[in-house]
Subunit: 140 residues, 2 copies
């Protein structure tokens, strides 16, 4: 079976280097949602080389910092599952006390249906985040 | 409000150093479940010092390796949320294709209720994991 993450150009791609790529994973509920995906088809973090893993951690830290600076989330959530697609990819999500799932994980059922009145501001902030993120990653 | 993770001795504690502690978070559905908790009350990964963060990643990698060696999971899941308790703590979970939630995240609703016939073996493997994990962390 072809792996959907084994691609040289993802439709939501924001940035890429020789080790990994970064995509915009925002949806209608979660305006600040970034995924970091390894280029190489590897299932587990401990299958990576030390250099790959250190680089990935560095990129995750940059994503979190830029997300916090531009979107001021109440909390950042980080997760690596790969149960459906066993190719290392990280979810980095800006969480707000009034988002659809808070305080539960975004993989749990929604706890509210009303959309925050701040959603438009958050979507605008997410655009700034993407611009700043590409700049910060390029400067690494 | 007192933080439940700000403690010098957690009831499920397996190991501790000057930076973090490791607890057994197994439950009836998930025999291989470890949490790694910072000693310091810090909300986000990017609030940690570089030295703390590098040490934490090193410990997470050791947990994942020992979990794979002893429990042979179909996938390891890693997550850091802190929406309810904003004190950096990581979930490291051994996932199996026949577990109660697979392929969903363990924060999603259960997808099956029957208990795997391999559960007794996995609980025994989890005991070996804990012993090996303490040894591996002590050797760091």
């Amino acid at each position: 079976m072809t792996c959907v993450l084994c691609t040289e150009h993802h439709p939501q791609e924001l940035w890429r280097d020789s080790t990994l790529y970064v995509i915009d994973a925002a949806d209608e509920n979660l305006p600040g949602f970034i995924r970091v995906v390894m280029n190489r088809h590897v299932a587990e973090m401990s299958d990576l080389t030390d250099a790959e893993r250190v680089h990935l951690w560095t990129v995750l830290n940059v994503v979190e910092k830029v997300m916090r600076e531009t979107m001021s989330p109440d909390k950042v959530n980080l997760a690596e599952f790969g149960n459906m697609v066993p190719h290392v990819h990280w979810h980095i999500i800006a969480r707000y006390r009034d988002d659809a799932f808070f305080p539960e994980a975004v993989w749990a059922p929604k706890v509210r249906t009303e959309v925050s009145e701040k959603m438009a501001d958050r979507r605008a902030a997410a655009e700034r985040m993407k611009t700043d993120l590409v700049a910060a990653l390029t400067a690494l």
